[in-house]
């Protein structure tokens, strides 16, 4: 199927970055506000899907040369691994902890192990969504 989608492609090139920024914003705001890994991951995946729509699967794969199944699995692995982290400290499974650190330039920042968990969730979501989209869209 050959069609003229210059406008879509031009817009996509800009919009993808806006979407990615939004994804990162949503991801980090999830700590104390609505947002979080799942939503951030979904928005990230939306960016990838937009790329697939505007260009095509092969171009997208050249730009982002990951096996998205492995990305999803990596996410799942991180999620469970953070659960196992608590086993090392002899506290119940999935216990999370946080602390405040002084980071040069950024000042006082709060870090918590939940963030690692959320990174896992986001990766899992991106991996699964893109895998599914790819497997449906393979030969259209």
């Amino acid at each position: 199927m050959k069609s003229n989608d210059v406008i879509l492609q031009a817009v996509t090139k800009i919009v993808v970055f806006i979407i990615l920024t939004l994804a990162v914003y949503l991801f980090f705001s999830g700590h104390n506000n609505p947002g979080g890994g799942f939503i951030g991951g979904l928005v990230l995946a939306a960016a990838v899907v937009l790329l697939i729509l505007a260009f095509d699967v092969n171009t997208m794969q050249r730009a982002l040369p990951f096996d998205f199944k492995v990305v999803g699995a990596l996410g799942g692995f991180i999620v469970i691994a953070t659960g196992f982290g608590s086993l090392l400290f002899d506290v119940p499974f999935l216990t999370q902890t946080m602390g405040e650190f002084d980071v040069p330039f950024f000042g006082e920042m709060e870090f918590s192990t939940v963030t690692i968990f959320e990174v896992g969730v986001a990766l899992a979501v991106v991996g699964v969504v893109v895998t599914i989209i790819l497997s449906i869209s393979k030969d259209v």
Binding site: K69, V70, A73, F77, G83, F93, T95, Q96
Partner: protein, 493 residues
């Protein structure tokens, strides 16, 4: 005291399943990793089972949130017995899969999904939270959706659509039930639910909600609402069908037992009577199905249905003997159904057809297969030295004690139908003139026979050594019949 060990039977398979995705190319490594994960799992659950005997019910609060606020895992004898059995059955099904499943499916993450399935099953057995139960049901179902369709044959895909549709519907009812229950009682922790319901009394509204859950679990277990079952269990390859037959319906049965002994036990004249009626109808329907079809797969799946009906007779009767009998029979059924599916699958793999009238005299070509089928048949019918016997006797005893004569008659009539349906398979397939000449004979692979032999040994061992698991079973039945033990362990500890 930390019980982090409780989470392992769920997390080990999950982690293994994810890890296997990374090593997609190394099939051999995948096989050994998943097999050893299951063996470790079995070892851990055996250890937990023994700890329960000395320390009582164990629980693990995720993230340190104490019940009823957090999610938790609760391990009592009943759930851990089932976890142990399902681990053992999975080990043997995996062994069978090694030589029967084929490269194409192995490349499509077959072992990962088996591990996810087991994670969901074990999680459902262990969780102490209603919503968490829903989540684990879904984990298990998602894995099973993929496993049903893996390979992508016409028949598999066709059946998978129906299987997914019916399960989406039942999951929806589950969610609606959870919403209603949360709206009325305001908690989802099972022990807390039980306590709250005991406080306010089981009002008619709550009884209606309990019936809603009954529908959900009936759909999953195949209690009366089993019409989806023969199609979807007949479609996937034998190793998967064996896993399904052994594990999936049992999760529904487990949930039903948990619900109607722990939470909704106040109105047995309504709920348990309905269960009894459904169990009776299930046995009748299953028996008709088992003798009506010529396809081995259908006969075998209808045998699953009959067993489900039989196990629920124990719950409907709800005397100590009957519950104990049901637990024995549940464990026996997991092992024997796996064996039955594997044997039927082997026959189909060897002859290339599932139709009884197209095969004959297999016992001459494959004597070991024939005799194993014979033993399975006896075991399912409940002939004494084998494992089906003790469960049937105890359920029967319970039914007589409480005067449920109709159910008793149906239960034992259904045993005769089981015997007849399998005898028909035996006579048609194994007896008679051989039609496979020596040249055409496909070799019986060692990898097919070994798991079957081990399962045969398990059913004999479970029959002869019933005494050795009696401690665990009676403890399990005791906890089921006295909900306060469970509640105490979860809330007042």
């Amino acid at each position: 005291m930390m019980n982090n060990m409780l989470v392992l039977p769920m997390v080990i398979p999950l982690l293994t399943g994810i890890f296997l995705i990374f090593i997609r190319r190394y099939i051999k490594l995948q096989k050994w990793i998943s097999l050893s994960a299951m063996i470790v799992n079995a070892g851990i659950s055996f250890y937990i089972l023994n700890r329960i005997q000395s320390e009582g019910i164990l629980r693990l609060d995720f993230g340190g949130w104490t019940p009823p606020f957090g999610i938790l895992f609760v391990a009592d004898s009943f759930s851990v017995l089932l976890v142990l059995t399902s681990s053992i059955v999975t080990i043997l099904c995996l062994l069978f899969a090694f030589s029967s499943i084929g490269k194409a499916k192995e490349n499509m993450f077959f072992y990962s999904f088996v591990n996810f399935l087991v994670a969901g099953v074990n999680g459902s057995f262990l969780t102490g939270d209603l919503f968490n139960l829903y989540v684990f049901f879904e984990v298990m179902l998602l894995a099973s959706y993929v496993l049903v369709a893996l390979g992508g044959e016409k028949r598999q895909l066709r059946e998978s659509i129906k299987y997914v549709a019916i399960n989406i519907l039942s999951s929806w009812i589950f969610l609606v039930g959870i919403a209603y229950l949360y709206g009325t009682v305001g908690t989802l922790n099972m022990a807390h639910l039980s306590e709250r319901i005991a406080e306010v009394g089981q009002t008619p509204l709550l009884t209606v909600i309990s019936v809603l859950f009954m529908i959900v679990f009936s759909l999953k277990a195949g209690l009366f609402l089993y019409y989806w079952l023969p199609g979807s269990y007949g479609a996937p390859p034998p190793a998967v069908a064996a896993l399904f037959g052994a594990l999936l319906t049992k999760v529904g049965i487990y949930a039903m037992f948990r619900f109607f002994t722990l939470i909704f036990y106040h109105e047995p004249s309504i709920t348990h009577t309905i269960i009894g009626i459904l169990a009776g109808l299930t046995m009748i329907g299953g028996s008709i199905g088992a003798v009506a079809y010529k396809d081995i797969r259908q006969v075998v799946t209808y045998n699953v249905v009959i067993a489900v009906g039989f196990i629920f007779v124990g719950l409907a009767v709800a005397t100590p003997a009957a519950i104990e009998g049901s637990i024995y029979y549940l464990i026996h059924d997991m092992i024997v159904k796996a064996l039955l599916f594997l044997l039927a699958g082997t026959v189909i793999l060897l002859t290339g057809t599932g139709r009884m009238d197209k095969m004959s005299g297999l016992i001459r070509n494959y004597p070991s297969l024939g005799w194993m089928f014979f033993i399975v048949m006896l075991s399912l019918a409940g002939v004494p030295p084998l494992s089906g016997f003790i469960g049937k006797v105890l359920v029967g005893q319970g039914a007589i004690e409480s005067g449920h004569y109709v159910l008793l008659t149906l239960a034992f009539l259904s045993s005769i139908f089981v015997l007849y349906s399998l005898l028909r398979v035996f006579l048609n397939c194994f007896w008679g003139e051989t039609i496979i000449s020596e040249e055409d004979e496909r070799p019986l692979k060692k990898g097919w026979v070994i798991p079957c032999v081990l399962l045969v040994l398990a059913t004999i061992g479970l029959g002869l050594g019933a005494e050795s698991i009696a401690v665990y079973v009676s403890d399990a039945a005791n906890t089921l019949l006295n909900p306060e033990i469970y509640i105490d362990a979860v809330l007042n500890d």
